[in-house]
Symmetry: C2
Subunit: 465 residues, 2 copies
């Protein structure tokens, strides 16, 4: 039996628990504890995100958690969109607050009163900020670690521009950043322009990155919103042009969350456990000394570890006496460590190292002298293999269909032609349980709507998290 294939949902829960990523036994439902290993992976993902946005001129800030009802109410669509799904703070100590405040569900209404103070002239634009904070949603659906939680580890970029065209350029830059981050994480995704009824409250339009997950659902791992002047007009964010007039800024945002980690677990992992891209593995190389009566395997292990650490790798020696090498192999495979080095008598005598790569069968021999380049090369192999498998999975599970009966309840994402109407989208969902992710970005394909037969464009439908 292939556990992951046969019961993805149970496999996922088990791996989150056995790899000690998150503990969901905390007394508040849907708010989980980040365990050391899971937190470390998330921090390494954040490091990649910071790297990508910092070098494109973004600055990091941190806005307060609390957003007053007055702030939220400035943009009416926005308040309406969030009012029913946020946590409300109504009391400070024993006294009711004068104005009740929401725990941020996202930070438009926290940021934009400040934008209107900070932005003065065209010379301040483009204005590019981001923050990495927790956001809060009073989620009524079934929760699941990293995929649907009530306390969300969240990245949000906010920008302001001289005009809509420059905001459009920003959306293009976001897509470039998303591509680069996903590449480093070994993830693939579809880019879908959400239908109007599913766009972000207050946005002109929303594009989302949707990853295909085993188990047959898609997971939204990134969103890109163009707000035009919808928020700037309400929050009074203007700049002085070169000619001295005042214009409203155009705005955009880009959001990602701990769902990136959920996607990594779900897409890369196998029945042995996690498989981690080397860049985000808390332990990139684990060294297992094979006990020997006549050879100093621990001495060699320490020397190799030092060499690799000095070259900047995260290395761990597992020299615990109480466990057999076989037990340790299984343990570190479960934890997703990309490379395992085995050092026993024959390795020390032969001046070589035996290496096993997570997710690639067979072992390889490395020279014990000058080992770093060979280790680096094999880590790259692991990364390459993760991406290959991920692309394969993605392609295998995106199906082009022309009739609704081709929808397989086991689940895929479906590329279809769609006329764009809500009626046809609703009808498709009733028949198949797959909902509309929107028009596929970049596709020029045209055809007859799978429901009504009128002219349509390529769209994607799937069940979602």
């Amino acid at each position: 039996m292939e556990f992951k294939k046969d019961n993805f949902s149970e496999w996922y829960n088990e791996i989150v628990e056995t790899s000690q990523l998150s503990d969901k036994r905390y007394p508040v439902k849907g708010m989980n504890v980040w365990m050391p290993y899971g937190l470390k992976i998330m921090q390494l993902i954040d490091r990649i995100i910071r790297d990508e946005v910092d070098r494109r001129g973004f600055s990091e800030v941190q806005l307060p958690l609390l957003i007053t009802r007055n702030q939220l109410a400035v943009e009416f669509e926005h308040l309406k969109g969030f009012e029913g799904q946020v946590y409300w703070v109504t009391r400070g100590g024993l006294e009711p607050l004068e104005v009740e405040a929401a725990l941020r569900p996202t930070s438009e209404s926290a940021m934009y009163p400040m934008f209107s103070l900070w932005i003065r002239s065209h010379a301040d634009l483009p204005f590019k900020l981001y923050q990495i904070v927790n956001t809060y949603r009073y989620e009524t659906k079934h929760t699941r670690s990293f995929l649907r939680v009530r306390e969300i580890h969240f990245f949000e970029a906010h920008t302001a521009h001289v005009d809509y065209e420059d905001a459009e350029r920003q959306i293009s830059e976001y897509l470039e950043i998303m591509k680069s981050i996903a590449g480093r994480l070994g993830l693939n995704y579809l880019l879908d322009k959400r239908p109007d009824w599913d766009k972000f409250p207050g946005a002109v339009y929303t594009v989302a990155a949707d990853a295909l997950m085993p188990g047959g659902r898609t997971l939204q791992i990134g969103t890109f919103h163009n707000y035009g002047e919808n928020f700037s007009k309400n929050y009074d964010i203007t700049y002085e042009t070169e000619s001295g007039t005042r214009n409203y800024v155009s705005q955009t945002t880009y959001g990602m969350s701990e769902r990136l980690l959920g996607a990594i677990i779900g897409i890369h992992g196998d029945d042995k456990g996690l498989i981690l891209p080397p860049e985000i593995a808390p332990v990139q190389v684990v060294i297992i000394p094979i006990p020997s009566a006549k050879t100093d395997v621990n001495g060699t292990a320490a020397k190799i570890a030092k060499t690799l650490q000095d070259s900047g790798l995260r290395v761990k020696i597992d020299d615990r006496d109480a466990y057999t090498p076989g037990f340790k192999y299984n343990h570190w495979e479960m934890m997703g460590v990309p490379l395992r080095l085995e050092i026993g008598e024959k390795e020390v005598d032969g001046n070589f190292i035996t290496a096993a790569r997570r997710g690639i069968s067979g072992r390889v021999k490395m020279h014990a002298q000058d080992i770093f380049p060979e280790v680096r090369e094999q880590l790259d192999e692991v990364q390459k293999k993760i991406m290959e498998k991920s692309v394969q999975f993605h392609n295998d599970h995106l199906s082009s269909i022309s009739e609704t009966y081709e929808v397989n309840k086991d689940g895929n994402a479906y590329s279809v032609f769609w006329c764009g109407s809500k009626e046809c989208s609703d009808r498709f969902e009733e028949m198949t349980e797959a909902s509309c992710l929107g028009l596929r970005v970049g596709s020029k394909k045209k055809g007859k709507c799978i429901i009504c037969g009128k002219d349509g464009h390529e769209a994607v439908f799937s069940r979602t998290y």
Copy 2:
């Protein structure tokens, strides 16, 4: 006029604003925006903290923000201590919550239900965790950036031990960590054992690190609590001993906050602005090319910058055309940059660099070739000078007195003999406005109580933030 000396409070507010560390114009009072420069400094401080605790075997976790009333109520003293000063979430969406929840004021009651699940046997001990999160206090006193806020950037370590003696060893390790962190930040402090009426709600005892601030108050920058079995008995945190019986663990905590940054601003800064220890300076070296018609100063600046960046330093070239070198000197002095390199015609021709050190008068010449060791040396000089000035300030403002009339309302911290009674402490405070920080840790000095004349020990009194 020496602005800092004459009006510390106003000087402090102005420096926070002009150096763009924090913006207090956010619509919720006492919740400020972390601006990019301030956030970067705080992240560099956090890096030092993580470095010091990670290498002593602590693991980082993150517990949820929300703590139910039931969780808080497990330890009665603890609930009583916090009930009146926390924010309460009472509604999710449009519905009242079944059990209302507090925004964490500190995380004992979040952590310990989990400790009782995680800790099983003596082999799990000592158990050492920490987290860096925001905490929330419904503060009624006057707020001030980094010193007294309602959303607090907080570090908290939590440990569990086989017995009280081992918990005492942990407190010693904390003191060692504090010393090391403070050393890297150029800070000095007093260690005071808080009087019983001022200890942490639920603790056996509390020791605090109190820094002397200009303006005459002390600032609590670290706290160390030994909980004994007070929490473990209430949260049922037990372990199996080697002989098979079950014992309650003994517990400790260690807390620090963004007040570290407040202390750095207040103690090191001068009338020109911030002075930052090199390790936490977002820009460690700023290079100012002095425009020249006949020499390529920018080319030399870029080469020097590259050399220093490749050696791991954070370097910025300020080649803005619109500003004069003099303006730039003032600007980067205000921002606390430790080292400024000036590169003009005579420098390029003479193959040397002129360097100015923040907080040290006079300029030095460096060889343009192989410049890194000289830069490193001068950064160390800046750090040394910061510490010297800080020690001097500390010693100058801690006064041993034997009569209350020696208390100077301009403010110092006072070492006095005190019998230990609340009555004498209250009387001293009435007469001088200085309150009791507690007995000085490590002092063996004995004498007659400054108030009642009975036998006493060395204690410290001061006004506090």
